[in-house]
Symmetry: C2
Subunit: 434 residues, 2 copies
């Protein structure tokens, strides 16, 4: 790409800044809270669709071919393709239109969470960072290219999906992919900046399981505890303390967590990033009884290089082995339930697409474009499952997601639009319009 092309693109996108800001502000005002949260259902109903209707108008103005469709109720995805001239690779921009609830309203200082208020250098509100800023910038990247008198050689594809916040991929990104909205590479426009590191390129995310184990004991009056635990006691003929038994399993999984600090490593993650978070414990019924049951629920962050099934089997084996030396647990093995799996993903650091994106970032933000892992989960894994190289890259500070201080810097929005435009230029190629 020559200097003139770049200068023209940047200058054009700069002229779009006001419109870009106005669009993000308007999108924030659509209360597209995922209905799974059951937050003010009457207010938030159809919010996702409202965002996408808004975006479809913009998309159509650009000359993209768009489609809205819902798998469930009025929760419409928007997909679009801007056909390239035919000689370039295609690029998919993915983003979600749903947001999390605003949380404690009294914590929103000055602004109401859905005001979309523009104040100084920021647009405030729920969804400004996560992730209406990112998906708007992706659309304005194409708008900038076209307005500057260029056009992409490869197809530029958009998926503005519902149902990401609560992992309803079958309604959102997964459904868009199944409809055939695919490409040779993809950017998920989630926020990837931090105060120190603007525009990280996230090429991996940990997988997340939710797992619960339940141990059954045998309840008896606490006055008979002597029989249960003491020398000469009748043992399980009288009672079994589920808490003592549960601790055997808890401690074994704690050991596994420690071991993972050394056995589970990935170049994009700091050592020790893969953990078994014993998150909740429920045990027993009351002080006068030896506890009849214990239940521990985990949030488990596993390594992208592990197959989900393999990680599950490793954990189940640890639980199994922990019980081998305990006759009660051997005879009454813990019940394990896997209630949730958000898959991991990992894209090679030297993938040509990653290099192209990195080049694009650094032309806009020279200190940016560091390769990293994503701090949370995202729909990127579902895109990779289709064999598409994918990265996460977008405006906004990750740490503001889901907080009552959510706001996106206007300067970063414009930078993002430029970065995405350059990524289209680098990956799809662009050429002067006829």
């Amino acid at each position: 790409m020559d200097q003139e092309m770049k200068d023209t693109l940047f200058a054009t996108i700069d002229t779009l800044q006001e419109e870009l800001v106005e669009t993000v502000s308007q999108l924030v005002q659509h209360k597209s809270v995922s209905p799974v949260f059951a937050w003010e259902l009457e207010t938030s109903k159809g919010g996702e669709t409202a965002v996408n209707k808004h975006m479809q108008i913009l998309m159509n103005e650009l000359g993209a071919k768009s489609e809205m469709f819902a798998i469930q109720d009025d929760r419409q995805n928007l997909c679009g393709v801007y056909k390239g001239s035919g000689e370039g690779k295609s690029l998919l921009f993915n983003g979600h239109v749903d947001v999390v609830p605003p949380g404690d309203l009294s914590q929103w200082k000055g602004q109401s969470p859905f005001s979309g208020e523009v104040e100084g250098d920021y647009i405030h509100g729920r969804g400004s960072v996560d992730m209406k800023g990112g998906l708007t910038a992706a659309l304005f990247a194409l708008k900038g290219i076209l307005k500057a008198g260029y056009r992409p050689k490869g197809d530029v594809v958009y998926q503005f999906a519902v149902g990401e916040e609560c992992k309803e991929t079958e309604l959102g990104t997964g459904a868009c992919l199944d409809k055939g909205y695919l490409a040779d590479a993809a950017i998920v426009c989630e926020p990837t900046s931090s105060a120190m590191n603007p525009f990280d390129i996230c090429i991996a995310q940990a997988g997340v399981f939710e797992m619960t184990f339940r141990v059954k004991g045998k309840s008896c009056h606490a006055g008979a505890r002597r029989e249960v635990i003491r020398d000469g006691g009748a043992g399980d003929a009288v009672g079994v303390d589920a808490i003592e038994k549960g601790m055997i399993v808890y401690n074994a999984l704690k050991d596994l967590e420690r071991r993972w600090g050394q056995t589970k490593v990935h170049p994009m993650f700091k050592p020790g990033s893969f953990n078994l978070n014993a998150a909740t414990i429920k045990a027993g019924v009351g002080p006068s009884l030896v506890a009849p049951d214990m239940e521990v629920a985990y949030g488990i962050f596993y390594c992208p290089t592990d197959e989900a099934k393999a990680a599950q089997l490793e954990i189940e084996e640890v639980v199994h082995n922990a019980c081998l030396n305990d006759p009660w647990l051997r005879a009454n093995p813990p019940e394990i339930s896997w209630t949730f799996n958000w898959p991991a993903f990992s894209t090679a650091a030297d993938d040509p697409f990653v290099l192209a994106v990195q080049k694009s970032v650094q032309k806009v933000v020279p200190e940016g474009g560091n390769l990293n892992s994503f701090f949370a989960v995202s729909d990127a894994c579902f895109i990779q499952e289709k064999g598409v190289p994918v990265v996460l890259l977008g405006p906004g500070e990750c740490l503001l997601c889901h907080t009552t201080e959510e706001k996106v810097a206007i300067a970063q929005l414009t930078q993002a639009a430029k970065i995405y435009a350059l990524a289209i230029a680098e990956w799809c190629g662009i050429e002067k319009q006829d």
Copy 2:
């Protein structure tokens, strides 16, 4: 006591068996469930008073001076004194008239829980063992003495108290004691028989605390767990896992429990009878968060030779010390709450009263009268607090208390009446009526 006196007493009490059985059966039919359980309040309302009205008629027939009084609502205690001729020591019989709820009605095989049905050798129903059988036998002991033509030399005192099952001593036994119904010694007529050992004499009971400790952590997203627990992490600047911290305290109390197996001994208890039953655990809010709090509730059985306050201090010191090596816990010490203390009691095995009672038992049941500790709690401790030597002794198998198989053997009821009559004879002395 001469053989003739004994034979006359026994023969007389045998003639009272039918009436004794009928009385116990009728008392069981009063649904005197402690209102604290809120079990069918309309049905159980005034049940305690109904039992005592019934007993007062019998008591008055014997010529005792009786009094009914309530501290709360219509929950009337019955106290009575049969004045001795003046030359003997006085003896108090204490029992409670409240019962626990019937539990799962479908488990009551054949009988409804308040039928009081007499079937074969047993009277069935809630309260038959715990403890309407015992208190009726205590009254029939005096009835037998009088009907046989004797009279006690010392006073025979009765306390039929409300509010034992939920430790409302201030409404029941404690209130009776405060009214001045005291004596030189006391028998609490709780069931003390087991299949192998009829009519144990229980001269001690463990104290029972309910204690809860609460540990606060600092919640953060589970994705930041690395920062919380791993090498190089920011630690408590980001988050603190309340479960990991709570386990430090849990394990310290577990160690203390083990230690108590050697440090807390009492001749009436098998080694290891004093325990800290970690009965319930509640921790955390959900899999995606590092747990912000953990709460463990204990039922603690402590040694009668320990002052309650000393036992509390020992436990609090263990918790305190456990935190010393953990900067977070040192700065944020666990909150400990003591929600319940049912005091212990212990009467010397060689107390003259114990020996007198033992002699009485063995004249009726030669293999009975073993000295033991009581398997549960009782109001005996409140009597001992007044300086009165006290034992637990009564008909019925302890293990049937609070079960859906509660039933008392008729033969044991009659034996109990004989034992109590002999105890009056031994302790108060009896003489021929004028």
